[in-house]
Symmetry: C2
Subunit: 404 residues, 2 copies
């Protein structure tokens, strides 16, 4: 009789955002007259920019003619896209990354979930707490995380690095050296980040202890401060210790278009085993490339028109972020983030737990946010609001919250 | 110091089709004047059908307006597509499959590679030999396959079920009961298949020994014979033992568009653990849905116009298949397949090995095929040609082969 992967059975409850979706659906069904405003999940709402639409239409037309039809894409992505990434995301920031170190994928979530496969079954991981759930859950499924304690809501074999208002949301080096360190900067969920100098310390630490940093830079387009790195490769020595995961979801509104990429430098090795070669093998075996039309849309992101249009889109969301931050502050809340990221991280009022505040906000203001505790134990007592709504909805939500 | 997943290091050589691509690139570079005809990889060449283009354009337009813009898709796929699949692929064939048993993905290759994650680390797998390399390689990466022998080109912990001209390419039940059985029918690479009655015997066997059948039905649109099942769920009892993987690549030309789905019936359980729930959890954690525009293209496949246009496309490729089969037969070759699948499986002439014939054909006819031995030891002495070229190229390739 077949047996299942028992690691799956260790996962407590369901994926955070599925739980939220179910709660909201139940509320909406019970209160069909109430207009719910969603500032919960980090999903964009602005339509695709004209330059992206144009690229998509053009690529669709190409797929309709024998001479320009494209079948299977190159395993690792089309050169036109990989070259545009190298030039714009790396060369222009002084980072020496080659096209064959770029792996185009269907999105940062897939890559974040799959990257752990490259490492040994007993690799010890370190994560910030609170943290994007995919990092931990994908390692649970692979059997790396030990035993879960309902009490502490932690896994016995995971190193948690608390990021709270007490330490300014900057993780400290763990006492025990991990093999894998997940860093999402600017951070989801807290909306905070670290300076380039602080990131350099992490790179130095990883090189010193022989760890690999999985650097999730999905929010780099929102960075507004000068002293913050857009790529981990701006730090000296990062190519021997860091993998960078990038997304088109937040900088170009591709949450429903699906495109991302991962950088695995050729210098990143375990003995003479190249992680770049391993990831190439995984792509070749378990993936068949991102759609041609979507890769053309990705290329358009880097055109001059694309850059201009998307800068406006990012500015639109950051105007929301500022409105939320200022509005909540004025209403007496303690708030963080929103300067280099589209997320606002607030303390819940009156000692409410994160889920208590979630229910309270849904029921009384009909606003959906994300409970901080859903991202890890140190998120308890915090709550995340995103700037990805429309400006009108954002102001309406704030007005409702201020009236509470 | 971090350690890698050592199972990756056990993989011999590179992925089959990457090797072929490299060989062809080297030949083309050395012989720029020779026009190489590719009948190797199973990649389509006909442009997308008009109804698909229309659906894509329309969906792109929707993504350009706030009111119709779509962000993250539902984890498991949009209802419009899942419902169309249920109605057309299952209801109309008398199979009782519900929409929440359908999981839309970015393609059958991803699903084929990822599905093994649901099973225990020591699950014993059985594969046909020859076989689509992804089934074995993804299990190698997960550490299930034991030790590789260069001599026999087999893994110590994999059950191989030879499919050769001697047994009419119908696998026999293995002596030792496996936990996972991969069946691709109609078959890639041999182009042969089994009758519905023979498939029913496999379903009965799986239920009897407590195994799960991973049923890859990527080529079902090419079935021309009445007594062949289009879905494993046409067999009685399949819902308690079979997962079905489907593709839009071959029936609708989506190799570069990327769309597929997997059916995991709710009745498929290990004790009280539902594989349907486990796969949902995997999708929710490590995947973020197929692109909205691509799912709309998938929906169009099932429209009346879509069915008519794609029937023509399949007929076009099957005309190629018939031309190859008849042409090779007339030239004195022994050939199989090509009746219910777009692949022709031929014996190599003069006791040549598969790779010898590959080189011989590339150098002397400038035609690319796939060496049978690349699919497993029982593929040695065979060679695969695909019907996915243009009709003109197919005839030209045949003419060159006949002249050898």
């Amino acid at each position: 009789m077949f047996q299942v992967n028992e690691n799956y059975l260790k996962l407590p409850g369901s994926y955070l955002f599925s739980t939220i979706a179910k709660k909201v659906a139940a509320f909406t069904e019970a209160n069909p007259e109430k207009k719910v405003i969603r500032l919960g999940i980090g999903d964009v709402t602005q339509p695709l920019a004209p330059v992206i639409l144009e690229a998509l239409h053009k690529a669709v037309d190409e797929m309709g003619k024998t001479e320009t039809f494209r079948g299977y894409a190159p395993d690792l992505g089309y050169d036109f896209l990989r070259n545009a990434i190298v030039k714009n995301d790396y060369e222009e920031r002084g980072c020496d990354i080659a096209a064959d170190e770029i792996f185009v994928s269907d999105g940062a979530k897939s890559d974040s979930g799959n990257i752990q496969e490259l490492f040994s079954a007993d690799a010890k991981i370190a994560v910030c707490d609170p943290v994007y759930p995919v990092y931990v859950d994908s390692n649970v499924m692979a059997g790396r995380t030990g035993v879960y304690s309902e009490d502490t809501q932690t896994w016995s074999n995971v190193i948690y690095m608390p990021c709270t208002m007490e330490n300014g949301f900057v993780p400290e080096f763990p006492k025990e050296a991990p093999q894998l360190i997940y860093l999402c900067l600017p951070n989801n969920p807290t909306g905070t980040t670290v300076t380039k100098a602080q990131l350099q310390e992490w790179v130095d630490y990883a090189n010193r202890v022989g760890a690999v940093i999985i650097y999730d830079a999905a929010y780099e387009a929102y960075i507004s401060e000068e002293n913050v790195a857009h790529s981990v490769y701006e730090c000296k020595g990062a190519k021997t210790c860091a993998i960078e995961i990038r997304s088109f979801s937040k900088n170009a509104g591709f949450t429903g278009v699906r495109l991302g990429f991962t950088v695995v430098p050729k210098e990143l090795k375990c003995g003479d085993v190249s992680l770049n070669a391993m990831w190439a093998r995984r792509h070749g075996t378990k993936f068949n490339g991102a759609p041609y039309i979507v890769q053309r849309a990705g290329e358009a992101v880097y055109s001059e028109a694309g850059k201009a249009q998307l800068k406006e889109q990012v500015a639109y969301y950051m105007k929301n972020a500022k409105a939320i931050k200022d509005g909540l502050k004025n209403a007496g809340y303690t708030v963080f983030g929103g300067v280099n990221a589209p997320y606002i991280w607030m303390k819940t009022p009156d000692q409410m737990t994160s889920w208590q505040f979630f229910d309270y906000l849904l029921e009384n203001a009909n606003v959906v946010g994300t409970p901080g505790s859903g991202f890890g134990p140190s998120g308890e007592g915090y709550f995340r609001l995103t700037a990805f709504g429309s400006y009108e909805n954002t102001l309406a939500a704030l007005e409702r919250i201020q009236k509470l």
